[in-house]
């Protein structure tokens, strides 16, 4: 029997809150974080709404109680905040840290600094060149939390941080690590904002996943981490267990660099393989935290894949991206934390802005906050460019 994987800590920072409690409160009170960009200089600040964290880098550094330096990308700062929170809940202290690893994910890396400084390099700021790479923010997190043994980084576009959580689980299952801080972080940048804009998939209004009139996504920024531990590792600290990670899978659509195949094959495979791995059945899935970006293509193909897999057992589902925006490399982990909050509190957070079903696949997400819902198993999806499709399943203990 493969060992069980437990989640003992969660941490998050997003446009709807600086920690788990604030995020949870915003979700419950339907307070979203999408609006005009304030901290960020771009020609699109008034026209492309985003899920921005309304703190500048100095303020983020204050939260961390460190002095700001050009070596720290915003990606690193956000990651450090969320990872610290996740670890702080676990009751773990320094001596265990030796067989602990951090596995993070990002798509932006230090590009937020690079795009600002690459044409005006000085002696003082030049270390942004070193912090540009994806692995840098992971090492900043590891150093901040005094983790020395294992540090790894994954980058697979929008599915990145489900994949880092999966990788953490595999390390534990194979007895290579006892505890893993796994998740992801991404900041807003001109690079990604203009990149998605060049693909014409950004909504000039608030995103509306699965709606007939949906017109694209809003970008967001943030970070989230979960602490995974083996059964043996949590002995004596069982009160810290939040839930179990019972299933996960990654598959590839192998169709196109950005668009999903018409029948959502990659998404279908990711979800069905995750369910199979968990030894659950489709009937056992009480709720799906959908990828639901609000783009014409994703929402239709995701709905088709869900219908193909669940058939008659139309599960409850919603997308939380109208709250936070699409946080790219952090999305998988942010939505994992939201899934765990659903599970722990028997609550389903609504899919905001939905009013009319898509014609081609008329599905209806949860549109009002649902409380006192028995949720035993949550499936969370993240589907990325390059057809990289991943799903996680968290179960109540």
């Amino acid at each position: 029997m493969p060992p069980k994987i437990y989640v003992t800590g969660i941490g998050i920072i997003s446009a709807i809150g600086l920690n788990v409690a604030e995020n949870f409160n915003s979700l419950k009170t339907l307070k979203h974080g999408i609006g005009k960009l304030e901290n960020f200089e771009t020609v699109h600040s008034q026209t492309l709404p985003c899920g921005e964290i309304k703190l500048n880098n100095s303020q983020l550094a204050e939260i961390l109680d460190i002095s700001i330096s050009p070596d720290f990308s915003r990606t690193a700062l956000l990651g450090m905040i969320a990872a610290r929170e996740a670890l702080s809940n676990t009751g773990l202290t320094g001596s265990e840290k030796l067989n602990m690893g951090v596995i993070s994910a990002t798509t932006v890396g230090g590009m937020d600094r690079t795009e600002m400084l690459c044409r005006s390099i000085t002696h003082e700021n030049r270390n942004f060149i070193i912090s540009h790479v994806c692995g840098d923010s992971t090492e900043k997190i590891a150093d901040f939390l005094d983790i020395t043994g294992f540090a790894s980084t994954i980058s697979t576009a929008c599915s990145s941080s489900i994949n880092s959580i999966m990788s953490g689980a595999e390390m534990i299952k194979n007895n290579l690590l006892d505890h893993v801080i796994a998740g992801g972080t991404d900041t807003l940048s001109k690079f990604t904002l203009n990149g998605f804009n060049s693909l014409m998939i950004l909504d000039k209004n608030h995103n509306r996943p699965f709606d007939k009139q949906r017109n694209g996504l809003n970008l967001g920024e943030g970070a989230a981490f979960v602490v995974l531990e083996s059964e043996d590792a949590v002995k004596g600290r069982e009160d810290k267990i939040l839930c179990e990670l019972t299933g996960y899978a990654n598959a590839n659509d192998a169709f196109h660099q950005t668009a999903s195949s018409d029948n959502g094959e990659g998404a279908f495979l990711a979800m069905s393989n995750a369910i199979e791995k968990s030894s659950l059945t489709v009937e056992d899935i009480d709720f799906i935290n959908a990828h639901g970006t609000g783009t014409i293509n994703n929402d239709l193909t995701e709905a088709i894949a869900i219908r193909r897999l669940f058939g008659e057992h139309d599960p409850l589902f919603s997308s939380t991206k109208p709250f936070t925006g699409h946080t790219l490399g952090a999305a998988g982990a942010i939505e994992a934390v939201f899934s765990i909050l659903s599970l722990r509190n028997n609550m389903i957070f609504p899919n905001l802005n939905f009013s009319e079903s898509m014609e081609e696949m008329p599905v209806t997400p949860v549109t009002k906050l649902m409380e006192n819902v028995i949720i035993r198993n949550v499936l969370s999806n993240s589907f990325g460019f390059g057809g990289n499709d991943s799903s996680l399943i968290f179960s109540a203990v």
Binding site: Q257, T258, A259
Partner: protein, 83 residues
Amino acid sequence: MDELIKKLKVEIIEVLNLEDLDIDDIDTEAPLFNEGLGLDSIDALELIVLMEKEYGIKIEDPKKGKEIFYSVKTMSEFITKNQ
């Protein structure tokens, strides 16, 4: 060949990196997408950028691209109409 049609063919070859082709290889009225040159949705986006950059015509809805970019002929007609 009409001057605009000629110009468009040169630009299409350049913007879409169709290095092996020259303007005589592109049939003015043949479909550009799926059959014909076998272009895809990313190429359509590149052509939208071309329209704005070269001809000052902004296409807001990418779905309209299907009709406008059907062939070199429809592209030139669109430009003539909107300039």
